[in-house]
C-alpha cells in the first residue's frame, strides 16, 4: 500500500479511536502498518484521573448536608447553609464538566478519553454530587480498556450508580428492582434475555450494596437478603458478585457490548456478521476490552468505504475535534457547557439511563444550523445569540436564585463565544504550498464531490477555506 492510501486509513483510525489527528502527525505515521499504530494507541494510554473535585471538602459538605436532612425544622442560618451547598455543588459540577472536555481537547491519550466517553454513555448516570460524578468518570477511565468484569463491578459499587438506580433503597424484605433491571437491560444483556423473575431474584441478591455517609461503598450484611435465590435457572445463596458472574457467563453479554462498541466506533447500522465476530472474540478473550478494541481496529472491514466518513459526529466529537484541530482556547469556558446543552449532549447529564440515542437523533433543524455556525463563531470569535434551555435538574437552583421580579427569567445575557484559534500553529503543520483543495481533502472525511471541488477551487486563502469547509454538512461526518 502506498503512503497516500495508508494515510487515509490512519486518519480514519485516529478520527474514530480518538478525536482526529494533525497533518504533521499523520504524515509521520503514514508509512507504519495498522497493527503497529493500533498497538501504539493502546499502549500510550497512561491512567490520568480527574482530580478537580476535592475529596475532603466534598465529604465535609456531605456530612453537613446529611445532618441537615434529618432535622425537622431548620433555622434561617441552616437553610442558608443548605442552599449554599446546593449552589456550590452546582458550580463544581459545571467545573467538572469543563475539566473533562478540556482534558479531551488536550489529551495525549485520545483512545482512553474516547473509551471513557463510550462508557460514559453506556453506564449513563447523573449525580448532583460532583465527587460521585468524578469518581464514576475516573472508574470509566481507569478500567475502560481493562477487563469488563472489573469495570462493571466498580461501576456497580460506585455511589453515583447506587444512588441513581436506587440500590441505596434496596433492602432485605423491601427490594428495589431498579438497578437489577437496568444492569441486565442496558448494561449487559439487552431486552429479552432474562425474565421478570430473574430481575426479582437478582434484586434480592444486591440488597445491602450501599454507600455510607461519606460516600464509600459498604456491604451491609444486616440489610442483605441471604436467602436462597433462583437466577437463570440456577439456585443458590447468591450475592451481587455471583449475579454479575452469572451474567458474564452468557455469551449474549459479550455480543451485546460488542454491538454497542461497533455502533459507537464503526457504524450506526451494525453489520451482524462483524458484531458476532467481535462478540466471540471478546468472550474468548475473557472480556478483555483492549482485545476487543484491537480486533475491531485491525479488521479490514473497519476501513471499508461504507464505514469511512459516514457516521454523524456526536456533539462532543464535533466540539472536541474542532477545538483540537485548530488549537482553540476558550477564554470563557462556560460557553462549552452552553454549546453541549444546545447541541444535545451535555456531559454528566445524559437524558436517562439508556444514554444518548445517537446517530441521526443528534440532528434536527436547530442543532444542525447551530453546528454549521459554530466554526465561524469559534474560529472567528463571533457572537452567538443562542441561549439554550434550562436543564430540568437546574430547576431547583433556578427556583432558589430567581429574583422576585417577574421578569428575571428573560433577562438572559447575550453570550459570546470568546475563543481563539491558533492559526499560525495550525497552518505551520502543513507543508509549504498546500492548496485549498488539499486542505479540504484533509479536513473532510467523506469523499470530495464536484460541487465541493468547484467551491474551493477559486479560494485563495487556507484560513477562509478552513472556516468554510468546517461549516459544511460534510464536516458533520466522521
Amino acid at each position: 500500500m502506498n503512503a497516500k492510501d495508508n494515510s487515509l486509513r490512519v486518519k480514519h483510525l485516529y478520527n474514530r479511536a480518538g478525536f482526529g489527528i494533525s497533518y504533521a502527525d499523520l504524515h509521520k505515521l503514514s508509512r507504519k502498518n495498522t497493527e503497529k499504530i493500533v498497538a501504539g494507541l493502546l499502549k500510550e494510554t497512561k491512567d490520568d484521573p480527574i482530580t478537580l473535585v476535592s475529596d475532603t471538602e466534598s465529604r465535609r459538605q456531605m456530612l453537613v448536608q446529611a445532618g441537615l436532612y434529618t432535622k425537622k425544622n431548620l433555622s434561617d442560618e441552616e437553610k442558608k447553609i443548605r442552599q449554599e451547598i446546593i449552589r456550590m455543588q452546582n458550580e463544581v459540577s459545571k467545573d467538572l464538566n469543563i475539566a473533562w472536555i478540556d482534558k479531551m481537547i488536550n489529551t495525549t491519550s485520545p483512545l482512553r478519553e474516547k473509551m471513557t466517553l463510550f462508557w460514559h454513555g453506556h453506564f449513563a448516570c447523573r449525580s448532583n454530587e460532583p465527587l460521585y460524578a468524578q469518581q464514576l468518570n475516573n472508574i470509566q477511565r481507569t478500567y475502560g480498556l481493562g477487563n469488563f468484569k472489573t469495570l462493571l463491578m466498580e461501576v456497580s459499587k460506585s455511589p453515583a450508580m447506587l444512588q441513581y438506580l436506587n440500590n441505596q433503597q434496596n433492602r432485605k424484605g423491601k427490594p428495589n428492582e431498579n438497578f437489577a433491571r437496568e444492569l441486565m437491560e442496558l448494561f449487559t444483556l439487552g431486552r429479552g434475555k432474562y425474565t421478570e423473575n430473574d430481575i426479582k431474584e437478582s434484586a434480592r441478591s444486591f440488597t445491602g450494596w450501599m454507600y455510607d455517609k461519606d460516600g464509600t461503598f459498604i456491604f451491609r450484611q444486616n440489610l442483605h437478603d441471604d436467602g436462597t435465590k433462583t437466577f437463570f435457572g440456577k439456585t443458590g445463596n447468591f450475592d451481587g458478585e455471583n449475579i454479575i458472574d452469572l451474567i458474564l457467563a452468557k455469551p449474549d453479554t459479550a455480543e451485546f457490548i460488542a454491538r454497542k462498541v461497533y455502533k459507537f466506533f464503526v457504524n450506526d447500522q451494525p453489520n451482524e456478521v462483524h458484531v458476532k465476530e467481535l462478540g466471540d472474540h471478546f468472550y474468548a478473550a475473557n472480556y478483555d476490552i483492549s482485545a476487543l478494541i484491537k480486533k475491531m481496529f485491525t479488521s479490514e472491514w473497519f476501513y471499508s468505504a461504507e464505514n469511512v466518513g459516514t457516521k454523524i459526529k456526536s456533539p462532543i466529537e464535533f466540539l472536541v475535534g474542532l477545538s483540537r484541530e485548530f488549537y482553540v482556547t476558550y477564554n470563557k469556558p462556560q460557553i462549552l457547557i452552553q454549546l453541549q446543552s444546545s447541541l444535545g449532549q451535555y456531559l454528566f447529564n445524559p437524558p436517562n439511563v439508556a444514554g444518548w440515542p445517537g446517530g441521526q437523533n443528534w440532528i434536527d433543524s436547530s442543532s444542525l444550523m447551530l453546528r454549521m455556525r459554530i466554526p465561524s463563531l469559534v474560529l472567528n470569535d463571533g457572537e452567538i445569540d443562542f441561549s439554550g434551555k434550562a436543564d430540568p435538574e437546574d430547576e431547583a437552583v433556578i427556583a432558589l436564585n430567581k429574583n422576585a421580579t417577574a421578569n428575571a427569567n428573560n433577562a438572559k445575557p447575550k453570550s459570546y463565544v470568546n475563543a481563539n484559534a491558533d492559526w499560525s500553529k495550525f497552518l505551520s503543520t502543513f507543508p509549504k504550498g498546500t492548496s485549498p483543495l488539499e486542505l479540504t481533502a484533509f479536513l473532510l472525511q467523506p469523499k470530495l464531490n464536484d460541487k465541493i471541488i468547484k467551491m474551493v477551487s477559486d479560494n485563495k486563502g487556507l484560513r477562509s477555506t478552513a472556516v468554510e469547509i468546517t461549516s459544511m454538512p460534510e464536516y458533520q461526518l466522521v
Partner: protein
C-alpha cells in the same frame, strides 16, 4: 366538534361522499386536511413540577389546611370555582377566561409507578412512555412520523425556543425550534449556506449525508415560509412583558397569519419550589395566567379561538404535605388545563383530588396522561391514538 361534524356544518361534504370510490380518496383526504389545517394545538410545559394543589386549591377540604400549615392559600383568598376548588389568587387573570367557558381543569392526571426525577418524568410525559420504558421519540414527533397529509414539513410543529424538545422529535420527522423567525431566516439564507445548497442533486440518498442535506433544505424552506407568511402580520394586542408572554405572542402571530402549523410548543420553567414556595410559585402563576389570558383573548379577537386547543402540563405534582422549608417536594399526579373556544366539557372536568386516600403521601392518579394525549390525537389532530401511543387509550369527552 370533530372533523366530520365540522365538515357537515360547513356544508362541504355532499351526501353520499362517505362512499367515494377508492381512487378519489387522496383528493378527498387532501381537501379534508386543507380544512383542518387550521386546527391548532398549543402545548404549554411548566418545567420543574408545578404544585397543583396550590394552583387549583381544594379549599373545601380540611386535610389541605392540616397538611400545609404555612403555605396553604386561605379560603378568603381563593378564586372560588365551586365549593371545593378554586384558583390561586395570582391567577385572577384567568377568571374571565374560565367564566367564558374557555377553560377546563382536569384533576389528578398521572401514570402508573410514577418517577420523581425531573428528567425521567419529563421524558415520560414527552415521549408518552410507560414508566419503565425508554423511548427516543416524542409523542408529537410520532404524530409527524404518521405522515398525515398535514404533517409533512418541519413547520408542522414549531417550538418557540432555541432547541427542540424530545416531545417534538420523531423517528423520521422532527419539528422545528425557533425563537425569532427573522433570525432563523437570516441564518439559513447566509450566502455561504445558499451556495452549499445550490444545485445540490447528489444528496438525495437515504444515508447520513443525505439526511443532513435534507434537514438543511427543509430548514431553509421552512424558515422562508414561516418568515414570509408571518412577517406582514402585526398584532394589535398588548401582552404582558414576560418571556413566557412573548412566546405566546409569537405563537399567536403564527396562528393569526395563517401558518399551516398544527402544533406549537412553549414552556415556562422554575416550578421546583422546595423552599419558600408562596412567592416563587405565585410569581410564575401570575406570569402564566396573565400570558395565557392575553393569548386567549387575542385569539378570540382574531376568530382563531375556535380552531385552537391549548393544553398545559407539568412533569409531576408535588407532595400533599409541605416540607420543613415552607416548600413542597416532588410528588405524582397533577392537574392539567385545557383552553379553547369549543370545549365540550367546560370548567372542572372530574372530581377534586382525594386527600384522604394517598399513596405514601402522594395523590393517586384518576386519569392517565395518555388518555388526554389520546383524546387530542383522536379528536383534534384526526389520527388514531393507538398508532402514536403504541397502544390505544380511551378518550375523554372534554373536546
Amino acid at each position: 366538534m370533530n372533523r366530520r361534524n365540522f365538515l357537515r356544518n360547513t356544508g362541504f361534504v355532499a351526501a353520499g361522499s362517505l362512499f367515494v370510490p377508492a381512487f378519489m380518496k387522496p383528493f378527498e383526504a387532501l381537501a379534508l386536511d386543507e380544512l383542518s389545517l387550521y386546527k391548532n394545538l398549543v402545548v404549554v410545559q411548566l418545567s420543574g413540577g408545578n404544585d397543583g394543589l396550590n394552583t387549583v386549591v381544594p379549599f373545601g377540604n380540611d386535610l389541605y389546611y392540616q397538611k400545609r400549615k404555612s403555605i396553604a392559600i386561605k379560603p378568603e383568598d381563593v378564586i372560588k370555582l365551586n365549593d371545593m376548588q378554586g384558583l390561586n389568587p395570582n391567577m385572577a387573570a384567568l377568571q374571565e377566561i374560565y367564566d367564558q367557558g374557555w377553560m377546563t381543569i382536569i384533576n389528578d392526571v398521572g401514570y402508573p409507578n410514577p418517577d420523581r426525577s425531573h428528567f425521567r418524568s419529563m421524558d415520560i410525559w414527552q415521549t408518552g412512555s410507560d414508566s419503565n420504558q425508554f423511548l427516543s421519540t416524542g409523542w408529537i414527533g410520532r404524530y409527524l412520523d404518521s405522515n398525515c397529509q398535514t404533517c409533512k414539513f418541519p413547520y408542522t410543529a414549531i417550538e418557540v425556543d432555541d432547541s427542540l424538545s424530545l416531545a417534538m422529535k420523531g423517528q423520521t420527522k422532527k419539528g422545528i425550534a425557533l425563537k425569532d423567525p427573522a433570525a432563523l431566516f437570516r441564518n439559513t439564507n447566509n450566502p455561504f449556506f445558499k451556495a452549499v445548497l445550490q444545485n445540490d442533486q447528489e444528496h438525495l440518498d437515504e444515508d447520513n449525508l443525505g439526511y443532513l442535506y435534507k434537514t438543511m433544505i427543509e430548514t431553509q424552506s421552512s424558515a422562508s415560509y414561516i418568515q414570509n407568511t408571518s412577517k406582514i402580520y402585526q398584532s394589535k394586542f398588548t401582552y404582558p412583558s414576560s418571556g413566557f408572554a412573548n412566546q405566546l405572542k409569537t405563537v399567536s402571530k403564527f396562528i393569526s397569519s395563517g401558518l399551516k402549523t398544527r402544533v406549537y410548543y412553549v414552556s415556562l420553567s422554575g416550578f421546583d419550589t422546595h423552599v419558600n414556595q408562596i412567592g416563587q410559585q405565585g410569581n410564575l402563576l401570575k406570569q402564566y395566567s396573565e400570558g395565557m389570558a392575553a393569548f386567549i383573548k387575542d385569539l378570540k379577537s382574531n376568530n382563531k379561538l375556535d380552531d385552537t386547543l391549548v393544553v398545559t402540563f407539568s412533569e409531576f405534582g408535588r407532595r400533599v404535605e409541605q416540607n420543613a422549608s415552607s416548600g413542597t417536594d416532588h410528588g405524582t399526579a397533577n392537574n392539567m388545563f385545557v383552553f379553547g373556544g369549543r370545549l365540550k366539557k367546560q370548567g372542572i372536568f372530574n372530581a377534586a383530588p382525594n386527600l384522604s386516600d394517598l399513596d405514601n403521601g402522594d395523590l393517586k392518579y384518576q386519569l392517565d396522561f395518555r388518555q388526554v394525549y389520546g383524546t387530542i390525537l383522536d379528536k383534534w389532530l384526526d389520527v388514531n391514538n393507538g398508532d402514536i401511543l403504541n397502544k390505544k387509550f380511551n378518550t375523554l369527552d372534554f373536546i
